[in-house]
Structures are given as structure tokens and as C-alpha cells.
Symmetry: C2
Subunit: 242 residues, 2 copies
């Protein structure tokens, strides 16, 4: 396991640093996790488009070999993969008093009940494996090759997000007991909501009619009203563009 | 959270049932998890190809709205998403005496050390999000549309697995400390190895030269020699085809 060079007790007390891009849905998930837990962090912008993408340059791929954001430096570790980061934060963040700092939810990423935890992880994982990767920038570029026409990109992304949302809506019928709960699982924000909201943003960007999915729409609206979600939104990031 | 209808103490003591397809890499991961933990289970075959795919029929999509395998019935729950299933099994399976039944490894899915757990989850998640979904059957079919030429499928799958393996090899340099450990993380089989081996099978199927990735090759060979991995192999499943 790789730790940062020069890890010392002093460094380990440093503020966590998040390598992020304002519009990346995976980085957005982790901004939400850190916000929910009330973890203060340094924002390090990685521009995914400028000069062919800073994420492909050696000083970034040394941290994240896939050339993807986010990467989180925390506790002397360099962590990649949003799902793995959530599990790490879940395991290490059970510190009393975090809830107040988070300002919403109960300051934990997963519910206390084991079956509800499984439900939250199923929602997050379904988005992270069955929907988002297939409409990711690099896949869209190849799906629309060689011409790279925007029309082809929209068609591809729209198809995968729409069919994914149909299935996700059905999964949410189970996890919310047909809409009885306020969020994806229960009445507190969990990991599942942190994965849902960025995916809905992508859906709108790729012209999916999200109103066709009532639970997805309702939960997203609940989330977007919270200060936690306003703070993590792409437009509120230091590298946001008009 | 949906539980099976008619959940009773008696049903909950029933043998777990795994909805699987011999060649599905996601179902294979879960066969490995159950094997590693020494959990006896009933195998329920879902034929992904016959008659347009049994996974799309209502009696299966009621269980798994994405129409994907695996689904695991266990403890009165119906669980989807291999990553979520691993976390559930990890949380619920810490029962002394499981190690002997597993016949290899230490009978647990994740290492004891928190940093090593994060490493194992990064490897598993990188495969499950950055590689496998993009070369999945349904994506290949659409990438090769409208003609569905095998040549186009090979080109697409080969590209994504090859570029994924280049990045994965670099991640494994970190998690194995440049090949010092026997498996992906440490000297016991973990979740990471359960995700790696099925992905290597897919790589070979799509004509990727796996010998270009020395750590991936070495770890896969270590795993394939174990009875655990022989038992979970597609060719050893009841629905295997010649």
C-alpha cells in the first residue's frame, strides 16, 4: 500500500486534499461525502478538458493511474475510486460531533441497519457501475468516433442514462418502500443520494426527461434544497466556468 | 428495504440462492466470495443469451431491475450489485471457523488493516467501474450497432480492457509494493483478486495480450492454482456450455 512520501505524524494531521473537477460527477460524490461528514479539505482543480486534459499528465497519473478524478489525499494515503473512498470515510469517520458540522443528515454516509446499508450501497453501486461509466467523457468520445458529432454523443448518453434510470426508479421503489422515505434509503442523506444527484445533473445535460422518473425527481429536489448539496454543486466550485 | 415475501425465521435459515450465468464476470466474483467464506448456496442459472436473454423477463427483473446477474438471496434479502454484495457479506460473515471451510485464504473478503482494505476496494472498484461495464455484453452490442460485426466488438472491448489493464497494472504496483505480495493486496486472497480473475478471462476472450501486464499475469496464475478459483470458474458451473 502506497503512502505519500515523507509521511510523518505532522503530515498526517494535514488537511485532506481533493483532486476534483467542477463538473466531474465522481468528484462531486466525494465533495458530498466530505461535506456530510463535516471534513474540511483543500480543493485542487484538475482541468479535464484544457490542453487535452491535465488528468493525463504524469504528475496526476502518478496519483491516479486511470487518469480520472477524484483522488483524495487523507491520513497519509492517496485514495482513488469514489466507492472505495466512501467506504474508507465510513470506516474512519465515526467521530462524535461530526453531525453538527455537516449541517444536514446525521453526518454519516451509511444507515445503521445492515439491510439499509446494503440498500444504499446497491443504489450507489448501480449508478457507479451500470450508468455513469458508460456515459463518461472518454467513452462518449470513442462512441462518437471518428467524427465526434455532438448528435452521436447525445444519442449514446441519452440511451444509457434513460434505460439506467428506468431500472434505477424500480430499485428506488424498493429502497424507499414506494416513496415513503424522504431520501433514497430512509429519512437521512446517505451515500446513495450522493451518487444520485450528480447523475441527475448528467441526465439533464444529455437531454433526458427526468420528470418521467418520479422518485428520482422527488429525491433530487429534496437533496438540492439542502445547504450540503448547494455547497457541493459544480457551480459553487473554485474552478467552475460560466 | 424489500425483503422476500413470507420472510420467517425458517426462511431466513434457508440456503442462500445465487442467480448466476456461468460466463458472467459479475456473478463469478460473487461465487468467489461465497467460496472464500465457505457459504453453501443454491445455484440458479439465468441464461443471458437464449431467447433474447432470460434476464430481461419480468420474473427476473422483479428481482434485479437492471436485468443483470448476479442477484443473491440471503438472510431474507434480495441483493444486487456485486460490490454491494461483497460489503454485505464482509459485514455479516465474521464467524469463527469459516476459514477452514473456505479451503484457501483466511476466509475473509477484506484485510484487517484499514489502508489495505482501502487498497483492495480500489482495485475491485477500478475493475467494476472503469473496465467491466464498458466491455459488458449490452454495451458491446450497441457499440457494434447497427451491423453487430464481431470485428467491431473485438476492437471496442480490446481497447477498453487494454487501456484499463495498463492503468490497473500501475495501481497493482502500488498495492503489491512492486510485486512483493502474493495477491493484489497482501498474501491472502481478498475482494480485489475476486474481481481481477474474471476480468482477465474476459481480456483473453477479447484477444488482449495479458502477458504485457506482469503483475496481473502473476497474481492471476497464483489464484488459478487454488481450489477456490477452480470451483468458481465458468467451466465448473452447472450451466456451463462446451
Amino acid at each position: 500500500v502506497e503512502r505519500d512520501e515523507g509521511t510523518t505524524a505532522e503530515n498526517m494531521a494535514d488537511k485532506p486534499a481533493l483532486y476534483s473537477y467542477w463538473r466531474s460527477s465522481s468528484a462531486w460524490r466525494v465533495r458530498l461525502a466530505l461535506g456530510l461528514l463535516g471534513v474540511d479539505y483543500e480543493y485542487r482543480a484538475v482541468h479535464l478538458v484544457k490542453d487535452g486534459g491535465e488528468q493525463h499528465k504524469a504528475d496526476y497519473t502518478d496519483k491516479n493511474s486511470f487518469g480520472l478524478v477524484p483522488t483524495l489525499n487523507i491520513d497519509g494515503l492517496e485514495l482513488t475510486e469514489s466507492l472505495a473512498i466512501f467506504e474508507y470515510l465510513h470506516e474512519t469517520s465515526k467521530i462524535p460531533g461530526k453531525a453538527a458540522a455537516a449541517g444536514s443528515g446525521d453526518g454519516s454516509l451509511l444507515p445503521d441497519d445492515v439491510a439499509e446499508r446494503a440498500a444504499a450501497r446497491q443504489v450507489a453501486s448501480a449508478i457507479a457501475t451500470n450508468i455513469q461509466p458508460i456515459q463518461n467523457l472518454r467513452v462518449l468520445q470513442r462512441a462518437a468516433a471518428p467524427g465526434g458529432e455532438m448528435e452521436k454523443k447525445v444519442e449514446w448518453a441519452n440511451y444509457w442514462i434513460s434505460s439506467g434510470f428506468e431500472a434505477l426508479e424500480k430499485l428506488l421503489e424498493k429502497t424507499t418502500e414506494n416513496g415513503k422515505s424522504r431520501f433514497c434509503v430512509g429519512n437521512n442523506v446517505t451515500m446513495a443520494d450522493c451518487f444520485l444527484v450528480p447523475q441527475v445533473y448528467n441526465a439533464i445535460r444529455w437531454k433526458v426527461d427526468v420528470s418521467k422518473y418520479p422518485l428520482i425527481s422527488k429525491i433530487t429536489a429534496e437533496c438540492e434544497a439542502l445547504p450540503l448539496f448547494k455547497a457541493a454543486h459544480p457551480d459553487a466550485q473554485p474552478d467552475a466556468q460560466p
